[in-house]
Symmetry: C2
Subunit: 120 residues, 2 copies
DNA sequence: TCTATGTATCGATGGATGTCAATATGATCA
DNA sequence: TGATCATATTGACATCCATCGATACATAGA
C-alpha cells in the first residue's frame, strides 16, 4: 500500500489538529487521510460531545465547564474527559478565567469537516 | 431531563434513518437528538468506511462489493460488516446484479450531516 | 441437481472507549 | 500558609467495536 507524500494536510490551528481532506466527491481517500478524518469524526460521534458542541456554538463568549456538569448529567471527570477529546481534535479551545475554565468552539475546524461531506 | 416531542425528526429515506437535527448554531441539542446524530456520525467515523464512501462518491453507477475487498486490504466479512453499518445508517444502499452486490451512496443523507456542521 | 462463486451471518477475540470514584493539581481568598 | 473550590488526571471496570475464520445463504451455470 503506497502512501504518497500528502500536501493536502495543513495544520490551521497550531495545536496539532490537521485539516484534511478534499471533499468526498473530488478525490479518493488513501488509508492515511482516512485515518486523519476518522479521528476527527470520532471526536464528534458521541452524544455528550455533540451536546457540548451545541451549547458552545450557541455561546459566543464560551461556556464555563461547571455548567456542563450541571446540564449534561455527567460527572465532572467525564465532562473533563470529553472536553479533552474535543480539544485534542482541535474542535474546542480552553481559556482560564480566574479559577474557572471556559471553553470555546473552533467553528473553522468544524467547517472543514462539513466541507468534506458537502458535494462540489 | 425533559424530552419534548421532536418535530424535527423526519424520515427522508423510508429505510429507518431519520433526518436530525437543526444546524449546530441554531438550536441546543437535547439528549435524544444528540443520540440520533451521534449514531450517524459514528457510522462515518471509521477509516475503512470513509474510504468506502469516498469510492462510492466517485462512482455514480455504484461499486461491486468484491472491489472493496481488493482495494481496502480487509477480509470479505469485514467489508460486509462495514457496508451493513453504512446501510443501517441510511448512507449506502444495496443493489443485487446477478450474483454480485453493488453499493450506492445516499448523497442526500450525507448532506444532512454536513448541514448540521455548517453555520447559518 | 450439483458445483462454483459471491455475499451475509455467526462466534470469538483483542483493543478502544465512556463512565465514575479517588486523588492530584491549580487558583483564589482569608 | 492554609482552606476552599474548580478542574484535570489516574485507575478500574463494563461495554462497544473492528477484525477474521468458519460457515450459511444465494445466485449462476453445467
Amino acid at each position: 500500500m503506497a502512501v504518497t507524500t500528502d500536501t493536502s494536510l495543513v495544520d490551521t490551528t497550531g495545536n496539532g489538529a490537521e485539516a484534511c481532506c478534499s471533499p468526498l466527491t473530488v478525490d479518493i481517500l488513501d488509508a492515511h487521510d482516512a485515518g486523519q478524518l476518522a479521528a476527527r469524526f470520532k471526536a464528534i460521534a458521541d452524544p455528550v460531545r455533540l451536546q457540548i458542541l451545541s451549547r458552545l456554538a450557541a455561546a459566543p463568549n464560551g461556556v464555563c465547564v461547571c455548567d456542563f456538569v450541571d446540564d449534561l448529567d455527567r460527572s465532572q471527570p467525564t465532562i473533563s474527559h470529553h472536553l479533552k477529546v474535543l480539544g485534542d481534535a482541535g474542535l474546542v479551545t480552553r481559556e482560564q478565567r480566574g479559577k474557572w475554565a471556559w471553553s470555546h468552539i473552533e467553528s473553522a475546524e468544524l467547517e472543514t469537516l462539513a466541507d468534506f461531506l458537502t458535494p462540489r
